[in-house]
Symmetry: C2
Subunit: 399 residues, 2 copies
């Protein structure tokens, strides 16, 4: 009995595939600081948690396949707070942003077609696309320019005969980059000129620092019919495990077919949706506090890196990730070595190897992604451990 070709071609998650080394370290009594996965430690808003603890029914019923009206109304009001006009009928509730992405790939592309992504990119895009028979065309972005977009001509040159869409993630996982208004304008104009779909992943909408603004294709005129928003409450409420996201579009045909996909899997998770329905009631101070906290953490990581010879990182504008170059030839081997060998006062650090976020072979080998999701003390400690590990690491970069 052989499993399918596509299933063999699918990549193990670069964020999760090193988990066995971390588990082994844990069994040995080692404290592992997890900066490898976007799981923050901040509390969920109390009014949201309270909705879980007071879940009202005697059983947990199916919800409508597109989500409860209560949740979609809450999302609609939330979008209005962010200057986005979407009615509850234009919002389809999904099992996290992940399912919204899967639905978008199924709905927008024929098997054999492809979509442009900006590299480095969130790896699961490639797996979701593969499972829909869709290819990803990576357009390289340069860490030296903060992973901002290359000239739009370079993006246009990447468009092949089967290219039908562009996927934009800003603020970006894994780079933290928030594209400028001019960058988004250029992408939108290109999509119109070449008749492409735009998938916009805005799970980190609020996570913007230093006065930068969140720019979205959703606010551009004349493109509503070609834009599909994939979104998630995971990060803004720190409810990654609730598995509640949305697929939102002004395009009725897209909504109609995605509703069929949603019916096939019956229902989004009812408890998470019930809790998240009050997201528009979350006090603004909560979000301001969380964003200020992450800005402080980002700066801590950058300060720590600045003290380590041979590293390089630009200051990103958003999300809670950043990528950095390390003075090692192979960052994955270094990360494994830290988990297996390196201890500082009984502790070590786990980060995600960078090459997992690239589709172009050979790129990202000396990079890592930080998810700066731990509180100040743990983060300072993590940066000390990283500095110590790099000083002791026996394998040096050759250049």
């Amino acid at each position: 009995m052989n499993v399918s070709t596509r299933s063999k071609e699918a990549q193990a998650s670069p964020i999760r595939r090193l988990a066995p080394y971390a588990e082994q370290a844990l069994r040995e009594g080692v404290k592992v600081y997890h900066l490898n996965i976007g799981q923050p430690d901040v509390p969920t808003p109390e009014i949201v948690m309270e909705r879980i603890r007071s879940y009202p029914t005697r059983y947990v019923p199916y919800a409508p396949s597109n989500g409860t009206l209560e949740f979609r109304e809450g999302m609609s009001r939330y979008y209005a707070q962010h200057g986005l006009d979407f009615s509850p009928a234009e919002i389809l509730t999904t099992v996290g942003g992940s399912e919204a992405l899967q639905f978008a790939f199924w709905a927008l592309f024929e098997p054999g077609e492809d979509v442009i992504v900006f590299e480095p990119f969130y790896t699961n895009y490639a797996t979701m696309a593969l499972l829909a028979g869709v290819g990803v065309i990576p357009v390289p972005c340069d860490g030296r320019t903060g992973y901002h977009l290359p000239p739009i001509e370079a993006v246009e040159r990447a468009i092949g005969p089967k290219t039908r869409g562009i996927l934009v993630c800003a603020p970006s996982n894994p780079t933290g980059t928030a594209y400028t208004a001019a960058e988004i304008d250029a992408i939108v104009a290109l999509a119109v000129r070449r008749d492409l779909w735009i998938i916009t992943d805005e799970a980190y909408r609020e996570f913007i620092y230093d006065g930068a603004t969140h720019e979205s294709p959703l606010t551009r005129k004349g493109v509503a019919e070609r834009v599909v928003l994939v979104d998630s409450i995971s990060k803004r409420l720190n409810m990654c495990g609730a598995r509640v996201g949305t697929l939102v579009s002004k395009n009725a045909a897209v909504r109609e077919v995605c509703l069929k996909f949603a019916q096939a899997r019956l229902s989004p998770p009812s408890v998470g949706m019930h809790a998240a329905a009050v997201l528009d009631k979350v006090p603004a101070e909560y979000t301001r506090g969380v964003v200020a906290e992450f800005k402080k953490r980002r700066d801590l990581v950058l300060e720590g890196l600045a003290k380590i010879p041979g590293t390089f990182a630009r200051k990103p504008e958003g999300a809670f990730y950043l990528m950095a170059e390390l003075p090692v030839p192979d960052a994955e081997e270094f990360v494994i070595w830290m988990l297996k060998e390196y201890r500082k006062d009984g502790a070590t650090v786990m980060v995600a190897p960078g090459d997992g976020f690239y589709a172009t072979p050979g790129r990202g080998k000396n990079e890592i992604r930080f998810a700066y999701v731990l509180e100040e003390g743990a983060l300072r400690r993590s940066m000390e451990i990283l500095a110590g590990a790099l000083a002791e690491y026996p394998v040096k970069a050759t250049r």
Copy 2:
């Protein structure tokens, strides 16, 4: 901007596509008895609900992609209670049984290959298969023989050059049929002889009446490597909205690739999994009580049908569904008519049209599926309404 061919080909759920008529009736103040969807009204076990209300953390974190060890250990003990030997490592937690099915289609079949299903079948199989590029080959079963399997030669004749698997659902949604030991033996022998995968959907394992036994390919010798179990806690705990299921196999390659799919969507729902982890601690009286209740309801529906001229239904052995023939030429039109026109003391009934459970054109036109999920009073009332509606329905069957 055109949506994809596959998305246009996907069917709207026959269970859910008439929902707008029910919503309109509701707006008109009509009481609608819902026998169209498998959403029971029995309480979730108290020890499970209590786990939701006492959810312990300040936020809702990602779980491991294959599910928490706590939940998989609970499932492993639950399987042992049912005579099935699966370690926690052999259990992958999924977003309901639905996702387990999607994973199985992706893992076991190449695009263009096909799988045998017994007709009538759970419609979402066809949509999930379509989205994986997989075809379903319906093998017709006859309501006159209780939708039991045809002679195994008829099943074998349905195998084409691209057929790679057989999907078995017993006790069956939509028919309630529980296959006999001899039927399962024959399927297993055929799968071995023709080198086919077996997907076994056992979401209704416990729901067996009249001393019938649940027969599973999982207990047959020599086929462990070709069997994939898709399962769900939705029905046995009445937590349909928790979206917690499992994909279970002794085949390590299947588990390995399905884990990659699981990593791509990050995590199953944490709260539902936390609650369901105690399923092996649910008192046996709970399950006995629920099963006895459903047996009573099945018998009520059958008694009600026996009083209505021109109907036909065999007594099914399990689940909480049954299919019945009605004396109408087009059951879907009749169901719509009940929702739009027919009222008895301000109430009407919604059932699922039968043809949605068939892939063979023309089959099932005069059938409906009952989900007998309401308590005795509501069910009696529903059968009276159905009898009244059929007496008044102006369109008569021609034969």
